[in-house]
Amino acid sequence: MATTVTSSTEGKTWGGGNEPMNASYGKLMMWFFIVSDALTFSGFLAAYGFSRFKFIETWPLADEVFTHFPFMHGVSAPMYYVALMTFILIFSSVTMVLAVDAGHQMKKTKVAVYMLLTIVGGLIFVGSQAWEWKNFIKGEYGAIESKGGSILQFVDTHGKRVALHEFAADIPQERVQHTRSNGIWFTEEPALPSVSVAEVVEGFKSHPDLLVRTEVINPETKQKVVLSREESLKRLEGAKTVVEGANLHQNEYGSKLFADFFFFITGFHGFHVFSGVIFNIIIFFNVILGTYERRGSYEMVEKVGLYWHFVDLVWVFVFTFFYLV
């Protein structure tokens, strides 16, 4: 593009050098991208909504899934950590606008400082998301998956969750982890669960105070339904596998789709944050090197700022639909 310093003068509409809608080429293209990317994210979130409404009676309760806070082991603190993450991202959005604002006044040092703060905020956010993923993948209590594919969790008579290793019987067994070096076909298998189905079932039988909690949500209490002792034993006859943590094909918290969407949507968003951090770093160095000072305009900061706010915007929706609603 030619250096476009134009204001649309009457009569020269088709004469070239005009800026449609008074926005520069780069800014307009950034908006094109943002609109299409926003539609991509809406597609994902709407698909999440589809699955959720389809399994509305058995969907996991977010308060029971995301309960961790750093340095507070064993304390159930739903919401707090993700609220903190939200603040970090909003705050990094603020430093970004401050950088744009300083750019309008051609204050190079100020722009650089605010860009740096934005980068730091972005990195903290990505790190937090990684920590959130780690907890989700690792799981906390473990569960049994039945032949029908439903998740059976364990609670004591007060309704408090009990982890598998707390009650599982210790049955000596021959089954060992299969590794590449031991097979003829050089195949391996995923890590074996720490306890076997038989151990869980035996352990359950020998602990009369334990009950099975199903995925079904009781509309009266909006809590998961806990079975009676007899029903629990009956349900455990259908036990098929031990599930510990969550991945793309197993999920101890409930519906597998929940884990799939969680990984996919927060992962895609995290990827956006990560690339945003990279863009910000590039722009940050350009600011320091004086590129925009020489160009006489800090519009690049504004453009990358648009992207950064968009990432924040998406997180606002992800936060609502994964953690609040």
Partner: protein, 116 residues
């Protein structure tokens, strides 16, 4: 760009305060889950969820209006961004959620238990 080069720092902090306030309200409601809002049903969702969604849209409006500086753009640009998004998203959400509810009913009330 058209807008003047005076500093908007005060306003930026005001918007930040506004967005933070909404987030705090959301988190507080999410932790307390007031019984009178949580155990209601309005158009297929409880009122608490409606409040969350409305607050989210307000927050999105704040970010786009002030931070992404749509307030300083021409109204043609503003509408060419917002109108397609609003229309397509509402349409998509309407179709998908109605279909999902239908499938839920099929699983619940008919003999089909699982087919996909």
């Amino acid at each position: 760009m058209g807008h003047s080069h005076e500093s908007n720092v005060g306003r930026i902090w005001k918007v930040f305060g506004f967005l933070s306030l909404i987030t705090i309200v959301e988190v507080a409601l999410g932790i307390v889950k007031p019984h009178g809002l949580h155990f209601t049903n309005f158009l297929g969702m409880n009122l608490l969820n409606w409040i969350f969604i409305i607050l989210t849209v307000v927050k999105a409006y704040g970010i786009m209006w002030a931070f992404m500086h749509l307030e300083g753009e021409t109204s043609t640009l503003r509408w060419s961004i917002v109108a397609p998004l609003v229309f397509l998203i509402l349409y998509l959400v309407f179709i998908l959620l109605v279909e999902a509810d239908y499938i839920f009913e099929v699983f619940k009330n008919s003999t089909i238990k699982w087919n996909f």
